[in-house]
Structure formats: structure tokens, C-alpha cells
Symmetry: D2
Subunit: 230 residues, 4 copies
Amino acid sequence: MPRVALLTGFEPYGGLDRNPSAEVVKQLDGAEILGRRVVGRILPVTFGPLRRRIHDLLQETGPVAVVSLGLCPGEPVIRLERVAVNIADFTIPDNEGARLADDVVVPEGLTALPATLPLRAIEQALLRAGIPARLSTTAGTFLCNATMYTVLQAEQAAGVPSGFVHLPYLAEQVARLCEEVRAGKSAEPYAPHALASMSLGTMVEAARIILEVSLEERPRPPASSSRPTA
Amino acid sequence: MPRVALLTGFEPYGGLDRNPSAEVVKQLDGAEILGRRVVGRILPVTFGPLRRRIHDLLQETGPVAVVSLGLCPGEPVIRLERVAVNIADFTIPDNEGARLADDVVVPEGLTALPATLPLRAIEQALLRAGIPARLSTTAGTFLCNATMYTVLQAEQAAGVPSGFVHLPYLAEQVARLCEEVRAGKSAEPYAPHALASMSLGTMVEAARIILEVSLEERPRPPASSSRPTA
Amino acid sequence: MPRVALLTGFEPYGGLDRNPSAEVVKQLDGAEILGRRVVGRILPVTFGPLRRRIHDLLQETGPVAVVSLGLCPGEPVIRLERVAVNIADFTIPDNEGARLADDVVVPEGLTALPATLPLRAIEQALLRAGIPARLSTTAGTFLCNATMYTVLQAEQAAGVPSGFVHLPYLAEQVARLCEEVRAGKSAEPYAPHALASMSLGTMVEAARIILEVSLEERPRPPASSSRPTA
Amino acid sequence: MPRVALLTGFEPYGGLDRNPSAEVVKQLDGAEILGRRVVGRILPVTFGPLRRRIHDLLQETGPVAVVSLGLCPGEPVIRLERVAVNIADFTIPDNEGARLADDVVVPEGLTALPATLPLRAIEQALLRAGIPARLSTTAGTFLCNATMYTVLQAEQAAGVPSGFVHLPYLAEQVARLCEEVRAGKSAEPYAPHALASMSLGTMVEAARIILEVSLEERPRPPASSSRPTA
């Protein structure tokens, strides 16, 4: 049985009713890309169970590639993260009310782990397809970064290409935000650019390209790899 | 013969190879909305002939509503302009190299003219359709503002609802911009938000909604109006 | 007795404990510039009494020039407003809880009134002094704009140069905002640039230069002016 | 003889005639803080000689703390960097024309190194002094990051607290930038916030506080440290 590509997103958080990463995951769950089935999973926005959940998911699916998606409010393009850091420092509480401060993702973990996805090839493929994209050197210090760090740490021995991609708001979310500002229910953002968005169709296309390039360029695992296949 | 709705856009400028406003106009030229035919026209980005061209166009088409579109680089949403000012003050040259400084659009003209489109009804319809939108009190001091001012001045006597709408970059334009930055051919924007964009499909849908609401809510012209019909 | 230059600022609003415009006014109240005494006054951030208060103040002081100051959160430079519009449309309530929507400053007033301060000479003098400054075509639709519109309408007959200047946050205010974000008491701004600030000393110097240039370039009032002198 | 605190800045680059980091260094070179002499040094903005220069400087001065400063155009506050990454990827050329792409700072180096300055204590002291400040998880991928990485790698064995601080533009630099935009000599920034600045006096005060807190909280080096003292 062919091994799968794992695509993760997050549930909504921070008072929003949707999370674009979950919407993209729902659209691609079950799709077949370069002969691999895409397994889409939604992660909780709660630090406590997050690492266990990720480890279970990796064990359960034994993926050949892992692409994790998350929302970055205000970000205008597909943002390919280069580095996950061993820092957990939240400016808002997670969905269970935890607000970690100057903490770590993994005790005794390395300071940072680099993405193992072929980021430049992905960037080039996205731009050629007319989809705005850029590389970034910070995935923040909230659950997006924690997820990236956890997956990279788990998959590095097996050489499974893994990484994290930040998505803009969905256009509909910004429309809702505009309505709330208009109704006085939400504070006006300091700057219009907090209102950047992308259509769901473009984001789904972006995720498909990211998976495709990741699967194409997957380096062969070492022959002696002891990694169990699902 | 039913009178038409006029939709204008601009040719490319500032080194860009496309202008989203022209792309939207091409898509809607000839469409029928609420029984009115949409006449789409592309305006030059040259101050010299602009006013004459607009007057000819209004004379030729005798529209029942005028919606003008233009690009605002970095703007993330559909921006509905409330006011045109009698100022022409360019930070970049127009397509013939003219760079007006502290000049006026129309000698002896009023300081400002208010949009006569039903902006709040348009905003509401756009947001309900999930399209990000906001009202703005400045259309700048370049050709977008000059077009808005010229149309409003020409149409105010006849009571034809008119106004201006700023559009974000097309997604493809930002992808190109990202490529140029990556290749060192273009300066990196100071801030990522200069990279905000919108899909052409969303912009076309927005323009259709704007025209529809404008035609629905069109106030009856005064009975004694001497305006010639085309 | 020589006539005075009027400098206005605003009391704090929107949950802030200080308003940079009031701090600048306190520093310059009573100063002498080019032989004119500066009269500094703090205006309420309440739409109801604002216009009456301004008219009383103009009557009382009979100024030869009026410079009004206000805060623009997130603005990084001294922003010289070109135009006041006859729109009152608040995204936050004023200090008495009023939240006007799509209203006017003055019933039957003109759409807009242009600043009568020598803005380009002021800009040049500020930049030469090393103080960041720019012209703007929108003073917003809150009380800053209402003040600018009211003063311009009142003073235009007498030819008294008048206008409005937006100021950045004080550095101390942004330090406080950073503390609140850090403590989880305030939402993190979407973008770092909401944290732009300027030192009080630079703002006071800017206001002094603005008054000086305004007094230097003051056009002679018409000989037949019936304006009462204070 | 008491050991010194090393404060580094950069020469101008990118077409600018000044670098705020160098200006701050000049003001504090030779100052005495908590009984330590501040040694201020200006680094070249050229990748080639940078690492050798830094190693020589550390050897020569044998500092008890190292604070490196650099400019971040558009940044509005004192930005305390948490992490240096082993990436050299320039969007503009350095002062000798080198434009590294997807390269490393140090072959075989760790992915990232954490700042060893007491960042939270520094942040708190700055904010209490009314100086805007924030922590950041990316120092970019240009020479600022390369300097931070190089110093941290060199000093980690000896336990010398070290780190990097990004500074805003000087107010005078933004005034110059505004002049250039006004004169059409420079492209208008996409967003006003590219115009954020800080006064030199505030930056010097910030650097003094950073050094003071770093010296106060300096952890004792291990007794067996073989580090040579200057």
C-alpha cells in the first residue's frame, strides 16, 4: 500500500469561526497527488495535547511528507517557513485558556530546526502559477511554530520532508471583520493591511502545488532506515 | 433603446504590464445587468488628454450610472471612494512623463465633490457576498482622483450616480513582484503588506455587485433635466 | 495689543491616559513666536459641544493663525492635512459615548474645505530641520476632521490661515502599549507599525516651526475686513 | 584592569549616508557603565571580512558582554532579537556587491543560536523608561543576523552574554527620505509606516539601558574558564 502525504490544519481560534488552514485541509483530504493519497487532519489549538496528537498522527499515518498549514492574520501571501524555534510564548491564550510565557516547545530541545521541504522549488512553482509566496524566517512562537517544531523533531531521523506554511485570512473572514468594524463590534485595525486575504481556491491550489513539489523532490530515505511504514 | 452603465478602467502604468481595473473592465464589457448593458472603456494614464477623453465618453454613451475603477498598490480590499478633491499632485510621472505638482484637476473647480453612488448599500452587498470592502475618504491625488473628480463634475447636473473604486493588485501581479524581489531586480518592499492582492474572479464579482446596486438604487433624475440621451 | 496665534490640542480619548496634542499645547502655551503670543487650548473629544467651543475660542482670542493638533495612532510622521470634509462617521465613540454614522459636521456645509496654512513651506521647513513630515489628503472622519472643518469654515471669511496637523503617538505611549500587549491586557496590534512614535521634544519643535512658518507667510487680510481684534 | 563591554554598530549601506547604529556607538564609545568601559566599534557591511573582523575584535577586547546594533528600515521600536539563524540570504548586495543566496553564515554550524543577553529584563527596563521595545524571533538573513550568529558562536563557550538589537531609522533619515520622495528621486514607499523613526537621544538612552542591564545580570563565568582576558 502506498504511503501517504500528511496535510494538517488547525481548528478556529481567537474568536474566529473558521480557520483557512482547516478549510484547505478539508478540500484536499483524500485527494491523490503523484500517486500518493493526501490524509488531511485538523489539529487542536491547545498546547497541552498538541504534541501527543501529532506523534499519534505520524505513527498512525507514516507519511512520506508532512505539510502543516496555519493562519497568519494580516499576512498577504503564502508564507513558507524556514525555521521552527524551541520557544513557546503566546500573546493570546490557546483554546483551553493556556497562555505560555517564555516557555519551550520541547524541554532540552535544540534551539531551532530547519524545514526539510524543498522551499525554493515550492516558491518557484507557486510564483510560476501566479500565486503570491515568500520565504520567512519566523513561524512565530504560538502553536504554528510548536507544530512545525514537533513534526520536524519527530521526522528528522527518518528523513521525511516536513514543514510549515502560513496562510492569509480567507476573503470571507475579512469581509466579516469589515462588518464588525463597521458595526462597532470590533476595534478598527490600526492599519488597512490587517485586511489582506486570499481566496480559498487559490489557497487550495497553493497547497496542492506544495504537496506536489514536496513529493517530487522527496529525497530517498537512507537504506537502513528503521522507520515503520503504515 | 435602453441607456447603458459605463464602467471604466485604466491602462497599465508605473512599469507594470497589467492593470487589474482594465482586466475587470474587459470581463464585464457587454454584460447585461438589471436590463442595462455595461459599456467598458479603458482610460489612458496621461493627465493631458484624460478630461477630454472622459467628456467624449460620457457624451458618446450617455450612461445612467458611471463606475470607475483603478489600482491602488498595496490596498487589500475593494475600496469605495467617498470624495474626489480638486488636487493633482503626482509622486510618479504619468505615462507621458508629466509629473504635476500641487496643481488642480479643474481650474476654479470646487475643493471636492462627493461620490453619488450608493456607497453604503454597495458596501453592505459586497460584505454579504463575502468580499472584503471599505469606504475611504481619499482617492489620492493622481489620475484615479482626477477621473473621479472629472466624472462627478460632468454628471452632477444630470443626477447620474457616479463614483470611483480602488482595487488591489491581481494575485498574479504580486507573484511577479515576489519574483522580481527574489531576483534582485526590484527593491524589497518595506513591508509585506505591500504584497496584498485579490483574485480577478473576486474583483469581477465585486464590480458586478457595485453596478447592480448602483442601478437598483438609481435616483430618478429631475423631470426637467435637459441632459441629452444617447 | 498684538493678536495671538491659536494652537489647539485634544484631551485623551479611546482609553489612553494622554494625548500628545495636549502635551505639545501645554509646552507652547504662552510662548512668543515672531512677536505673537501662542494661546494654547485643549478641546474636548465630544462632538456635541465641539463646534460651540471652537466658535467661542475664536471669538475670545481673535487669532491671526490657527493650528490644530490631534493624535493619529500608528502614524509615523508629522502629517499636514490638506482637506477637511463635511463627514462625521466614527469608528469609535467619542468621550460622551456618541458614535455618529454617515453624518455631517455642518448641515448644508460645503463638501470640503482646503487648509489655508502654507503647507508646502511648512513641510519644507520641517524636513530641513530633520523632522519627518508629509502632506495628507484625509484628516479622517472623527473629531480631528470636524475641528479642522469647523475652524476653516469660521475663519475663511477673515482670511486667517488655519489647518490641522496629525501627530504620532508619544514614545511613552507606545512603551505603555507594548507593556499591555506583553501583559495580555491589550490585543497585539496586527502589525508592528502600529507602534510608530515620536519624542515629545520633536513634536514641540515641529509645532513651533509650523506656527513660525504660518505667521511668516500670513497673507494680509483684506483692508475692509470687519473682523474684531481681540 | 577591568574588562570592557563591547558595543558594535554598522557603517552605512544601501545608499544611505548614515547608520543609526554607528551614531549610537560613537556616542557611547568610552562611556563607563557600572564600572565597565564601553568599547564602541563600527563593523563593515561586507560579508567577506565580517567574521574575521568580529573574531579579531573579540580577541582584542575580551569583553564581559557584547551588544551589537543594526538598522531595520521601517521598524518603529527597539527590537531585541531572540535568535540568530545559520542562513545568509541577501535581498540587496552588501557594500562590496556580494549578494549571497540561500547560503550559510558558518559551514556546519548549528541551525540557530539563542541570544544570551537578559532580554526580558532589558525589555522591562526599556519600557519602564518609556522607550518602545519588543522581542523578535527573526534578525533577518543579512549582515545583522550574520553578526549576531558569529558573536554568539564565538562567545558561547566563555558564557559572555551577547545579542543583537535592531534600531529604527533616525528621524533625520526619514526626513531625508520624505524629501527624496517629494522630489521624485525615490519611489514612494508603499506604506507610510516605512517612515517610522526614533530620535538619536532615545536610541542612545536605550543602548545605555541595554548595556546596564546586561552588565548587572551577567552570569558568573565558570571558574575553570580558560578565556583569555584582555
